[in-house]
């Protein structure tokens, strides 16, 4: 009797409840009341559930009873959950799912910047774009010159952005600044950047309104992020008439660490014998460089990286003297540069990340300019007029920079985050100009905080503050930065940026006056952007106001002012023309300033009113051939003869004009093949294919009667090279060994 009863009770529990079914019905929509199809509706920890139909409807029954949780999920939406009581009677639900915040659908805070890299996010540029831009010859800053906001200043390697000087753009590697990003060069001849684009996985070029995490750049920031561990060990070599190089990267068996070394030798001598140059090179540019790196994965989320580079470059050339036709100026340069960067990143807790960096760099310049006669013999100074004799000079300079920096990044709910950090720079510059020796020590301290707040999926705000202290000039400044972004539709958004930027005056003026405040620029930027996977359109309007610029007229003061305003357009399309990828940019710039020796407010000689770029790329898959074309155009730039009156000691305008427009058509071919076991790329490139005349400006003789154009060393530049790499892909080995 008893067991039967017990069994019955148990059986009742086991099956009896199944007799009761609760019917659950409802509709799932998004916040705009559109039905969501394919959402998953379920009872927690149970099989029961179903998917919504095309009208967002769902209906199913469950045999569960009591309190349970009904949950609904759909990709791209925040999961919805609700506690329900299953009683056997039908229940109806009207559920609204909110869009989940993710980097793909949310508004972008940094819409103003051009970003290359980051394989996941939709970016305007890819890392490979830097290498395959025809005019750039794999030089990072040269590739940036195809983006809006930059000027075609052919006589300099620096980036002149939105009416700013070249030194107003600063480069950062893993957070720390690079004091000497370019190789040493002769006056008015552009050199190249020191760093290979292959060192970096991410590049962000901000033409204004950049983050409070960075400072000491009035105009623009080029932020580079170095690569982490390589996928495998590899060796590579580069061979060209002007260079040879070799590189080795070793990845440890446990994939936790890697080290690498490389060496390169560049000598343009042979090339200059084949392609005549305007200056008379008695020492063609020659570079010996080497670098070492190691990267260690210190934990699942930690990474320690070191990169160190040494380079020495030497060159010597002669140009006719502008004042005395029978004489020449003989310029020689010997530059040595050490750059080191140690960076560490780690996730301290689930939400908190640390980025720390240390950097030391040293730049040694040994420069000599000598007035020589027709036989290249030095001319005794006492036989020369003072203004010609003054051209004899020597510079012996050593610049040291030590930096330390730490940033904490705390992730808030959703995509929001707060970053806080501090940095410290110590610089020691020792220079000897002729007989005059000077030493300048400076300390720079900064603390900064920045919050990215996603108010909704459509609206995001960034607020940042940077406090800076420059010890040498006893300047303390607060630089606020802010931006607001609003998403108009899929991939379409509008953003407004504001920021105050400080930079200490250039060292050559600080030598004479250490009571100057920091120079200041205020940025106001409005951006409209439509970013798709294969098409991008961007329009920017900007206004930049300069204050406290260094002035030399009539005395060294710091009340220089200026402004820059303009409009910039960028259009990239990878889809309309089959197999073609192209981008077009246009920049309009209206800028004037009154600084240095300017007699009044005027447009500086590095600013062109209209600048345009067309970059076209095509990869021929069957031929393994990539073909790149690039056309750069800029209207003429102003040039001036500003003359110092010996009696009044005032600068005045003696002559002025505008250069001819700048045209440059470049092309490059990359052919990918296999030579032996090496993956190989053959590169051929040519700058100024049309042989257009390019004039960068004019220089004037002392008396103003003679002016000569500043021209590139040669109208055209050709490059041919072979790049080999071994071991980048071991697929075949694995197959052969294991199958």
């Amino acid at each position: 009797m008893k067991p039967t009863l017990a069994t019955l009770v148990l059986l009742f529990f086991a099956f009896g409840v199944q007799a009761q079914h609760t019917q659950l019905k409802g509709t799932v929509t998004d916040t705009r009341n559109r039905p969501l199809a394919g959402a998953s509706v379920s009872i927690k920890d149970s099989y029961d559930g179903c998917n919504t139909d095309s009208l967002g409807h769902f209906s199913f029954s469950t045999s569960d009873t009591g309190v349970s949780i009904l949950s609904i999920s759909s990709i791209g939406y925040k999961p919805w959950q609700m506690e329900i009581r299953l009683t056997g009677s039908t229940q109806q639900f009207e559920v609204v799912l909110k869009e989940s915040m993710n980097e793909l659908t949310a508004v972008m805070v940094t819409a103003g910047a051009f970003e290359a890299g980051d394989e996941k996010k939709t970016t305007v540029l890819k890392p490979l774009d830097i290498v395959t831009t025809a005019s750039a010859n794999a030089d990072i800053t040269a590739a940036m010159k195809t983006l809006p906001g930059t000027q075609q200043v052919g006589e300099s390697a620096e980036l002149f952005v939105r009416g700013g000087e070249g030194y107003e753009t600063r480069q950062f590697i893993d957070g720390t600044t690079v004091a000497n990003p370019f190789f040493g060069s002769a006056p008015n001849i552009a050199s190249r950047g020191r760093f290979s684009p292959f060192l970096f996985k991410g590049t962000v070029f901000s033409s204004g309104g950049y983050s409070a995490l960075y400072g000491q750049a009035l105009s623009s920031a080029l932020i580079l992020e170095s690569i982490d561990l390589p996928e495998n060990s590899s060796a590579s070599a580069s061979i060209a008439p002007i260079l040879v190089g070799a590189q080795y990267q070793d990845l440890a068996k446990n994939k936790k660490s890697s080290w690498g070394v490389s060496a390169q030798y560049v000598n343009i001598g042979l090339y200059y014998k084949l392609v005549p140059q305007r200056p008379d090179y008695f020492h063609a540019p020659e570079v010996v460089s080497g670098d070492v790196n190691f990267r260690v994965k210190t934990s699942a989320t930690g990474m320690l990286k070191f990169y160190g580079n040494y380079a020495r470059n030497v060159l010597g050339l002669r140009n006719p003297d502008i004042d005395m036709a029978s004489l020449k100026n003989s310029f020689s340069l010997d530059n040595g540069n050490i750059y080191t960067n140690l960076s560490y990143k780690e996730r301290l807790t689930g939400r908190l990340k640390l980025h720390a960096g240390f950097s030391f760099s040293q730049n040694l310049n040994d420069i000599k300019n000598q007035v020589v006669d027709e036989d290249n013999n030095p001319v005794p100074e006492n036989t020369l007029p003072v203004y010609v004799a003054a051209k004899n000079y020597t510079v012996d300079a050593t610049n040291n920079l030590w930096q330390g920096r730490a940033v904490l990044d705390y992730k808030l709910k959703g995509l929001s985050s707060i970053k806080m950090g501090a940095e410290y720079w110590y610089s020691k510059d020792i220079s000897k100009f002729n007989r005059y020796k000077s030493t300048m020590d400076d300390e720079y301290k900064a603390a900064f905080a920045e919050a990215d707040i996603y108010i909704t999926n459509r609206l995001a705000a960034r607020a940042g503050l940077r406090a800076e202290k420059v010890e040498l000039i006893h300047a303390t400044n607060l630089a606020p930065r802010a931006s607001l972004s609003y998403k108009l539709g899929t991939g379409t958004q509008l953003s407004a940026d504001y920021g105050v930027f400080y930079q200490k005056p250039q060292p050559q003026y600080l030598l004479f006056d250490q009571h100057m405040p920091q120079m200041r620029a205020d940025h106001y930027i409005l951006t409209f952007q439509k970013l798709g996977l294969s098409k991008t359109f961007r329009m920017q309007l900007f206004e930049k106001d300069y204050k406290q610029l260094t002035r030399l007229n009539p005395d060294t003061t710091h009340n220089g002012t200026g402004y820059a305003r303009g409009i910039e357009l960028f259009w990239r399309d990878k889809i309309t023309f089959k197999n073609f990828d192209y981008w077009v940019t246009y920049s309009y710039l209206n800028t004037k300033r009154n600084y240095l020796n300017f007699p009044y407010e005027m447009t500086p000689n590095f600013a062109a009113e209209h600048t345009a770029n067309l970059v076209v790329k095509r990869f021929f898959t069957k031929l393994n051939l990539q073909f790149n074309v690039n056309y750069q155009f800029a209207t003429g730039r102003p040039y001036y003869d500003i003359h110092l009156d010996g009696s009044t000691q005032k600068w005045s305008m003696r002559d002025q004009g505008t250069t001819i427009a700048y045209n440059n058509l470049s092309l490059s071919l990359n052919y990918i093949t296999k030579i032996g076991k090496a993956f190989s790329v053959v590169v051929f490139s040519m700058n100024n294919v049309l042989n257009s005349k390019q004039v960068y400006g004019y220089t004037y003789s002392f008396d103003g009667t003679n002016k000569i154009p500043t021209l590139p060393p040669a109208n055209q530049f050709f490059f041919a090279g072979l790049f080999l790499s071994w071991g980048t892909d071991r697929t075949q080995d694995a197959i052969n060994n294991n199958l």
């Binding site: 086991a14 793909l104 490979l128 996977l533 190989s680 075949q732 294991n738």
Partner: protein, 214 residues
């Protein structure tokens, strides 16, 4: 008397467990069968949802997570709007992470991981530069791990090699060779249970015909 009671209880428990297991197997079979008849990305999403619900109820089983990820990986190939590729792949990766916790060093999971990476390359060809070597690494490790040659790992490998330019260590001939090995492996492949992964044979055979008929 007590004995009888205990026996009855034990029998009942065994029965319930069995019933539960039978329910799991039958639900899995039902949905695996459904996978064979999908016609659209939406069908695949629905199938993935179904598997995910099973995964939520059966917290010790890797297969529901695996199949949900597989359905989403397929969806990533089906969708026309490339914007939907990454979200589907992200979800598939999350599900595979669950599966991997429950079943470590599983070559089937490796094959699927590689398939998801390949799907992501649809969005942007230049991703191949970083994702290609990653996928290839996963497959190489899987090949080393399973001497008996998993046909799905080989199928993924074959496709990757086939579409990799010879200069990068790939090529059509090399791809065909591996695909042949995959088809052979399919012929001798016996899944551990009725519901273990056993897909792709028809596709592999069809692909081999397509590749060798040109």
């Amino acid at each position: 008397m007590k004995k009888i009671l205990l026996l009855a209880l034990a029998a009942l428990l065994a029965f319930t467990v069995h019933a539960q297991n039978a329910k799991y197997i039958s639900f899995m079979k039902q949905n695996i069968a459904l996978l064979d008849s999908v016609k659209s990305a939406d069908d695949l999403q629905n199938a993935a949802n179904n598997f995910e619900r099973i995964a939520n109820a059966e917290k010790e089983e890797w297969l529901p997570n695996y199949y949900a990820a597989y359905a989403l990986a397929m969806k990533a190939y089906f969708v026309k709007d490339l914007k939907e590729v990454d979200p589907a792949c992200d979800k598939a990766d999350a599900l595979l992470t669950n599966a991997e916790i429950l079943s470590q060093k599983n070559v089937e999971i490796a094959a699927l991981k590689s398939m998801i990476l390949t799907a992501r390359m649809r969005v942007d060809g230049s991703r191949g530069m970083t994702m290609g070597p990653k996928a290839s690494k996963i497959l190489q490790d899987a090949i080393k791990q399973s001497p008996e040659n998993n046909p799905r790992v080989l199928l993924q490998m074959a496709q990757m090699i086939y579409y990799t330019p010879p200069a990068f260590g790939g090529g059509k001939d090399a791809g065909v060779e591996i695909l042949k090995k995959s088809v052979a492996a399919y012929d001798s492949f016996k899944p551990a249970t009725d519901i273990d992964p056993n897909w792709g044979k028809g596709y592999a055979v069809g692909l081999l015909q397509q590749w060798t008929s040109k």
